[in-house]
Symmetry: C2
Subunit: 154 residues, 2 copies
């Protein structure tokens, strides 16, 4: 197995997982605290998807921390295959959630002027939450490519 | 280089590319013929993104057909790297476009009952176009994974 940036059981891998977790948590917190988000399915789906990502990334961060402390090697074929599937499924769900929310936000701001008419919907906060979701997705994609590369280069 | 299903310069690769091209073209045709799509940015972006996918997949289908006729081998490192980057960029843009359109469509049908009120917007046609875009994206993802696998396993 190759020793790449972001590999499982390395410090860079742990940092990536913690980053994904933090940005996903921040996205949930900002969305949940913005008024009027619950009227739109896409924004609720973003919270659900970010929740899944927090669970997945936190679990892998714990595994990385354990492997670093006990100096264990996590790079065996079965574990990496599991990481690849989980990472890709989570990454696709996260991108889908972020993009559907962004599509609705563009409709609200640009196509219908809904945000300037309906002041009870916190459009600014929802936009920040979507941006945080995209950052979290980007960090997850880096992990996903590294995992797939490790699996393919066995 | 490995000889996988969907590899460049093989019949399976050519079939995948033709499939991507056909579904993307069908998605554009259905969306463009549905009334009222141009009022929403997400639907216009879907047409643009599907257009890019048609260009990319048609180009690669021609290359595959040429390689099959002349019995050339397309699996060298530089070409496969180019295919990987192009495939992944196109796949991410296509998924983003399909998901943002789907998010808007769910808002129209479920959250706001816009489709039952505004009969001048052809919601049924737009849904078919989005479904075709998802099928096209799925075929593109198969190509993308095969390309990445070939590149990583050199």
């Amino acid at each position: 197995m190759k020793d790449l940036f972001g590999s499982p059981g390395k410090v860079s891998g742990l940092v990536l997982r913690i980053g994904q977790c933090l940005f996903a948590t921040a996205s949930i917190a900002v969305m949940a605290s913005s008024s009027g988000f619950y009227t739109t399915t896409a924004f609720c789906y973003l919270i659900a998807s970010m929740g899944l990502q927090v669970l997945w990334s936190f679990g892998l961060a714990c595994l990385d921390a354990h492997a670093l402390r006990k100096k264990r090697d996590l790079q065996n074929q079965v574990l990496v295959s599991l990481f690849v599937v989980g990472d890709w499924v989570t990454a696709i769900l996260t991108l889908a959630a972020a993009c559907s929310s962004a599509g609705v936000m563009v409709l609200f701001i640009r196509d219908s002027n809904f945000c300037s008419k309906q002041i009870q919907v916190a459009c600014g906060m929802i936009q920040i939450s979507i941006a945080l979701a995209f950052v979290s997705w980007f960090l997850l994609v880096v992990s996903s490519y590294v995992m797939f590369w490790i699996l393919a280069s066995v």
